[in-house]
Symmetry: C2
Subunit: 188 residues, 2 copies
């Protein structure tokens, strides 16, 4: 039940609408938490009812109006309380890994294609995250920024996301290569 805390954490640095939040959860924030738009709207409504965030209507001429949310003091307090609680072990859920677990029984062709596709996807994320990191640290070096920057939280989690995707890409490529080699060998 940490979706609420993920939302609070995402709203710490900027005021966002549900829609923007959904976009963020589909990119950067999704590094560490995954959720669909519907969930986010529902969670924001609950958080507002509980006074952990406040929304304000922003009237737009050219676009539908939106509601921007920001974390209240109570919200920050809740996040601080959460930060002090024991954490559950992180977990991954990945279709592709399930398939590779069954690799010896399921035909390598489709698997190789999926591994290749995933590697390409990981590459795209690596570039995206690289860009985000550069943007966050500006003209400072990484070390400089991490030592003296004001908001390093998002930077640190983005670093983890980057490393994760690099690991993903490397493993996908290597695994695909191994499967290719084996099928080539078997065919003869």
């Amino acid at each position: 039940m940490a979706l609420r805390h993920a939302v609070l954490a995402a709203l710490l640095d900027e005021e966002l609408s549900g829609y923007q939040l959904a976009k963020a959860f589909d990119m950067g924030v999704a590094n560490f938490w995954h959720a669909l738009p519907q969930q986010l709207y529902a969670e924001l409504a609950k958080l507002e009812k509980e006074g952990l965030v406040t929304g304000r209507e922003v009237v737009q001429d050219t676009r539908p109006n939106k509601r921007l949310f920001q974390v209240t003091e109570a919200g920050l307090a809740e996040l601080q309380r959460f930060a002090a609680t024991a954490n559950k072990p992180s977990f991954i859920r990945d279709d592709l890994l399930v398939k590779v677990q069954a690799a010896d029984h399921v035909g390598a062709g489709k698997l190789i294609a999926q591994l290749t596709e995933r590697a390409a996807f990981a590459d795209a994320k690596i570039e995206l995250f690289g860009g985000l990191l550069r943007q966050m640290r500006g003209d400072r070096s990484e070390e400089e920024f991490l030592r003296h920057g004001e908001r390093i939280g998002p930077y640190l989690t983005c670093q983890r996301g980057l490393a994760f995707e690099q690991g993903n890409r490397d493993w996908c490529r290597q695994t695909a290569a191994i499967l290719r080699e084996r099928t080539a060998h078997v065919r003869r």
Copy 2:
């Protein structure tokens, strides 16, 4: 809805009881899928009803009796069908990353402690996975094994688990170090 497929994949190489499966999901298999015992028992019951696995009672003198499950041909077919479907992007859910995202607002002490704890946990998993990999490849070299071994699926996913935990450990250590340095600096 890939829990069923994770269960099938886990049962491919050995006949297991629900209890053993739960253990496996708490260790190796949990690399790529996470589930509680209750879920596994429920899923096994459903899979049996649908004819994707068959269970057989094993009477034990010294322990309570158990039911061992194995994948049927229909189960294997279902897994093969699944292996050919598009995969959803993998996702992580991690309390600790949420907390680090909020690092600039929540007090570093607790965070550093949790990062250190997580790094130690990752270390334990690294050792465990290293041992599992050695066991699986026996006296063969890794390259030899991956080229000519019979069942490499579990080996490949375990490799991914190992790399993930190494990344986890490194990031936790580095992040903890950065937070420590910053608090030391601020205190002055």
